[in-house]
Symmetry: D3
Subunit: 252 residues, 6 copies
């Protein structure tokens, strides 16, 4: 229903297959970061995409996974020759000092090498103000969170390891992780899952003197829910009790 | 799910019967404005409620429907003698100059006449700031809109006529109404449904020169949806076309 | 002199008989809250006024004393038939959530019942900004405090009891009262004059540990000033001594 | 009554003889600017004052009339030897860049020459904020306007000519003046009374094209009021008519 | 180079002889405060200037040294008859309450006495905002600090004593001075150089309990640098050590 | 003198050889972007540096030239094994979305792979506020502009081409450029030096209708100044004339 409302409100299309059926149109979208991470290189990924995907789908290379947008844009454009339709910058927030300047630089470098026809796509937490700022340079926008009605709880599904080796896109901490919470003060701690001996975690003490406890516990196992969820009344009591400790929680 | 979340988050109870079942508790609430409007008097309404409702339900009189809270509070307390548990003030926004002062005055008048045990309930668009301000005086709060997650589209179901006679609570315009919209500039107009000859409405011209059109059209008739809803694509075209006229829409 | 200056500055008229003589015009004004409180009902009051007062004086009903302006407006209009010239809303501040909306609602209800000729008067602490806001709806304004030159010490003369029974208009605490001041910290306290045993007041202790003392003492008795006023020098010493305690005074 | 209230509120004394009688004390004050202007020199003035006035009155020299406070302070202190009680600075606003610094400099120069006992008095449009700022340096304050209750219309009685010769204290334009007002746009103009031929004034045209008219007309002649004052009704009509031209009035 | 840049940027001329040679023009400027202080009177100074200086240099009297600008302007204009080209007001900040009003008053008094041709010059810490404000009245501006590129450390060379007698212009504390610094808390103190017995200074204790030390020590004696300056490393250590005491330094 | 002052004020060292001699210490610094651009790879550059430079100089790799700091940090640490002392991030402003988060991520990735001893250096337009923010993570800071006294005209010397091929670090537009200015409206335009036919530049018209003119003209040729610089007077006339056109200059 959210995607239907976005479409009615003026968006050009939607990405989810089921949503596209509901509004009687074709779904649209670009390659994911996962493809690039698995293949290990942006140029390899766009080449593989180009080899396999139906010709009627436009070739858009996602260029923010491993390295700087400027050099990746030059590399994919030169590798794809005339077949590249656009580059998409989903630049992570920590690298987004001046998004306009990054697009300006990418445009300059592409033009300098004769790729004036390659279009620029922007995505990643954009709102109406940023769209207005980027409009003189950018040809298309991928917008999600800011047009949903309710405040969203943002989360991402990202590849963190490939066959046991830490590997994550720019802006993400690589490797499988354990998340620990101090039962006394509520403080959270992130630790690498491997390389830290079990007993070390078990003995970890919070600065407040409390004990840390691992938060990651199995919910589904072999297709079955294996954890028993508490009743509303018990949940409420847990919440009300925690509210009494609120002043102990550290502000991040 | 919203009421379940509210309960888990610390609220004392919920009003909808189905929600109460979900969280395995009894529903709670007070009499509606509709009861008072139908019976025509606040004292009559609390008396009827007292006569019929199970003794284990506390007697709470809603006292903002017809007249000023101060005098209604005195009237219901004197009529109910010792059986009144609380008075509830759902005072409409246009009369809510200083909600704290109104409660202070009601408390004074009840105490002066010996009703120190009658509690005070507040409701109506309250947020956490107002609850903190009223807390020294008020014993309970009815809170809705401000703890829902998404921005809500506020609407109300109110009695406007009783057997053809205009009758509405304080803060509402009484009588059945027609809503007209100018097809040219988008301006809306509210008119009494009766007493205005058909031809007069038909001929009504907007200040911009456009024609008004009635917006109220039947959706369900004898249990069947009688209006055909357009496809997403047609809706989207309608929206995009209207956006082109946005600058013509008057700001209210 | 104040009323003469107000008249010269553009006001239409004045209420005090002596002032009107000074500027060689007839005084003007409406019925007081006292008349309605004594007769016990707004409709009774406008009827009595209509019966007694010279026909050349316009019939203006004051409708904020006991109950909500919406229902009182309908009642007086229906009772007076065609003879009502205007309704006056002196709505107390604590009920003045949105004065414009109250007038809009009263106008709607009067028009709906055929009383389009009844005019709307506003009064009560109005300044030039509020007058500009209300002008599209309101036909006349009663303005006082905000056009006096010096900062005024606002006070009101209100009926609080009728033949020993507490009775006050909306926005006022009914009943005769005693005012106590703590001689140590300067804190004030308001208590009902009756029903509180003398010894209880005498023994009342302030939260700061000081003793409360009654501030109400007779000034005039049988037409004679019975209290001896101190000399300027003594008053000055009292003030200077109190200034030393200023930081002890609670902020209300 | 204003001076009585000021005294009760904590002031040390009053200047008007009648006020002092009312509060049963001696009046207090210093020499006026007029004395210095007539004698033509600050030192001459304090010497004359010292010669004539009762010994019990303290010698306070007013030192802002002709020349800079720093040099005048040194001159009066050296001329009066040990008999000078204080110097008073009523420094005009246009010369009051940093009043604290001026007092600091005067204090330094007096101390340097052995006059550590000569006190410093401040006056002239002081409010409670300035008094707090100057307190570390200044021994006494003359305060008027800012402790009156109503907004005052400030005006001053100053000597402008002595025996036909222009002579005014610092901060005032010397010489008798004519004041002209344009009857069309309300603009005012100040011109020297002498040296400007009559016909030139008569022919003066305002920039807006209107004619200027002299505003100074005799009110009292040989002890009798010689101008007939208009009735309130006529004054009111004049004011209302002028309000219609308000947008034409130039902002100064 | 600074003066060359100022000239290129639009200034009319420069004051330093060497700078003028660099830009191939004549230097310009007015008499210094020193001349007036030495001769002891503004009128004497402009007369001496007029007697000695080449006729092609315009006669501009500096009139803020001893006494108020209003009276000094009248005195120099009357003394110089038709030969005075302009008066220059370098009014000290502490006397600059409303610079525009001072110029307006000086203009009035000069015009009233027939000196309409005498021009007005302004100087002293002016920036572009003040120049715009004064422009309607003032004929020329002397601007320095505000058009230099780097933040300047303002300092002034002023006569403080003449043949052992304290004498300084308005806005300056006269007499030679000693400057003391507390070695413990860093607080500074200014004292007259003479009249304070040596031992008294030596024994002076700061309010913090530390000892004061005189900061004025000879740098050059008979043309030779007599103080040994520390190496950068020693200076750096001194600075870093002082930074540790920063919180002890009083804010002025 | 600037570097001497910085050192005295508490900086640890300076980079210019002459400055270091003046303060009697060794100069310090890291490799330049130029070395990396010439060698074409960050790892090659640190290896070459390691091979050639005196062992007493610590190995600090500059890692923001070509690619993302996260991956470059991992690469140089793995290539240098235990010999790497620190990585320096001079991240360009357009990529500096959240500098703290970038350091946090680099720290995580280095620690995860066992490089807990590799230190983090930050540089590039840092001021005292940013230093305080980064301090919990960063071990050293390179600070320049923000501690100079005068406002600086920032400029950079960067490699733009290598043997005729466009090549520039992240944040810079690669390739030699021509700069054109419209003689009519003052607008500037940047164009690639090569690949744009001469006649096309010559014919370029500004949007305002004026002609563009190339600004890059030789100043020094074979060690001699070949352009004749105008006299101050001519420069001043040019500036004053341009000021008359200021309102025509476009705001960037």
């Amino acid at each position: 229903m959210i995607e239907r409302a976005a479409y009615i409100g003026g968006c050009d299309g939607v990405a989810v297959i089921l949503s596209a059926e509901l509004i009687e149109t074709d779904p649209m979208g670009t390659m994911p970061h996962a493809l690039i991470l698995i293949l290990g290189d942006t140029v390899e990924a766009i080449k593989a995409f180009d080899e396999v995907i139906d010709k009627k789908v436009k070739r858009v290379a996602l260029i923010d996974t491993f390295n700087d947008e400027k050099f990746e844009a030059i590399r994919v454009a030169e590798a794809m020759k005339g077949r590249l339709y656009a580059v998409r910058l989903d630049t992570p927030a920590s690298r987004r000092g001046n998004f306009y300047r990054i697009f300006e630089e990418v445009r300059w470098e592409l033009d300098l090498r004769g790729f004036k026809d390659v279009k620029l796509f922007a995505s990643g937490g954009l709102d109406e103000k940023e769209v207005m700022e980027l409009k003189p340079l950018v040809d298309a926008f991928g917008v999600g969170t800011c047009i949903s009605n309710a405040p969203v709880v943002d989360f991402a599904m990202d590849i963190m390891e490939i066959q046991g080796k830490p590997m994550a896109k720019r802006g993400k901490w690589s490797g499988a992780k354990d998340i620990l919470r101090c039962r006394k003060c509520g403080n959270d701690k992130i630790a690498p899952l491997k390389g830290v001996p079990k007993q070390e975690i078990g003995n970890k003490k919070c600065a407040c003197g409390g004990n840390y406890q691992g938060l990651l516990q199995p919910l589904i196992h072999k297709g079955k829910v294996v954890r028993k969820l508490p009743k509303p009344k018990a949940l409420r009591e847990h919440v009300v009790k925690q509210l009494g400790n609120v002043s102990l929680l550290p502000v991040k």
